[in-house]
Subunit: 219 residues, 2 copies
DNA sequence: GTTTTCATACCAACCAGTTGGTATTAACAT
DNA sequence: ATGTTAATACCAACTGGTTGGTATGAAAAC
């Protein structure tokens, strides 16, 4: 029991997290550049002095928001997979199912903090560029490991490079976000993911279901 | 000879275009929100008064930049295809080849004005949302027509919905931009496009080349 | 009593947009 | 050709408000 002063007047860790969570929400909605420090403070119920006590500058909370979002998304995926079948191919399917469910939840925006920061900042600011690259790489490595394990357990009928396919899937994911944002088409997002899933299945000789994503009506 | 005062002191059409081109370049590099009107004016060699004579507000030049970029990209693709083989499947290949060549040209950034505006503005500003959606839709319809024509000429061995595949390809394109921006990986971008190309080829029973994108070393 | 955590008040730089004006041009009359 | 007029194209200077960031101080925690 070393933690929790709980209901004390000050709680620096909680204040910091409130700021990060506010930043994440604002960045998801309107992007990083359009989000002002004042706005983050207002949303979090913290004054500017408090903000700059916890974060050296605006860049710092941007990076913290990216990290927070990465941790959140990663935990959602790992949770959805660790409960499921130990078969790596089934875990891969669980991953796609989670992505699918994500877009059906209207509370959660079809957006990604890491993608946003990559798009807005990568070409202008090396710190954001390498941070976004690191997050993308970590996500890709997670997918890659699943694909490697799936290859070991299920001999593929078509050979493929797991790393390359993992980058493909993550690129498709990010791009579907970008396109769905303006077309406001959740069904298109989900169809994209289902096509990718059935594409990967085909490597293992798994035939598409009768309701194939390539031809079936939208859902 | 109705046109061209040429070297006169005033040239409203040229001034407007200078502003749009400056906006496009700045948006590609640093995004729309981070680009100030002053910056656009400086880059174009036009004063603020001149700017607001041609554009009602900042939104107006954002939309004009999106339109200008759309026209530019579309013309690059149509040019690359109208010179090529009339076979729609070959034209589709020419499309992928153009995309590939695009990323090898270091002068041209790996970025898209429409994707940028969709990412930054779609959730906050209806005008940008519908403009980006219109451009994405137009690009997708172009691809869809090629796929429909290819299906008519070459009976596919796997049936597919051309519209859905077109959205898939364009989403992958946008996402590859987002990811490549931070990972700075042109080869990954090109591998993604080659995998999509061979995926589509497989619908028509065309086997992957010996240097298959799924396994071959990067280029 | 020192350090941490936060609040208040403030700053220079920059933001989109406006002002009031001038120079250029096209249309037309002479 | 030339003078007149009206509209267009452009400019320098400015406005109110916002930006990221700071200086100072006070209350809480150790």
């Amino acid at each position: 029991m070393k933690t929790k002063p709980a209901a004390s007047k000050r709680n620096p860790a909680a204040t910091r997290e409130k700021l990060v969570m506010a930043a994440v929400q604002l960045i998801l909605r309107q992007g990083f550049v359009a989000t002002s420090v004042d706005q983050i403070c207002r949303e979090a119920g913290v004054t500017k002095g408090g903000f700059f006590h916890h974060f050296e500058n605006k860049e710092a909370i941007g990076l913290a928001a990216a990290q927070g979002w990465f941790d959140y998304v990663t935990s959602v995926y790992t949770q959805s997979m660790e409960g499921a079948d130990p078969d790596p191919l089934e875990q891969l399917h669980a991953f796609f199912d989670t992505l699918d469910a994500f877009t059906r939840d209207s509370d959660r925006l079809c957006a990604c903090v890491v993608g946003m920061l990559s798009q807005e900042m990568a070409l202008v600011h090396p710190g954001f560029q390498s941070a976004a690259a690191a997050h993308f790489t970590a996500w890709t490595e997670g997918l890659e490991k699943l694909l490697v394990a799936a290859k070991e357990k299920h001999p593929p009928v078509i050979d493929f490079d797991p790393e390359r396919v993992a980058w493909f899937v993550n690129s498709l994911w990010q791009g579907s976000i970008v396109v769905a944002k303006s077309t406001q088409s959740g069904p298109m997002f989900r169809a994209n993911m289902r096509m990718a899933r059935e594409w990967i299945d085909s490597f293992f000789g798994i035939p598409p279901p009768q309701q194939c994503a390539l031809t079936a009506p939208a859902s």
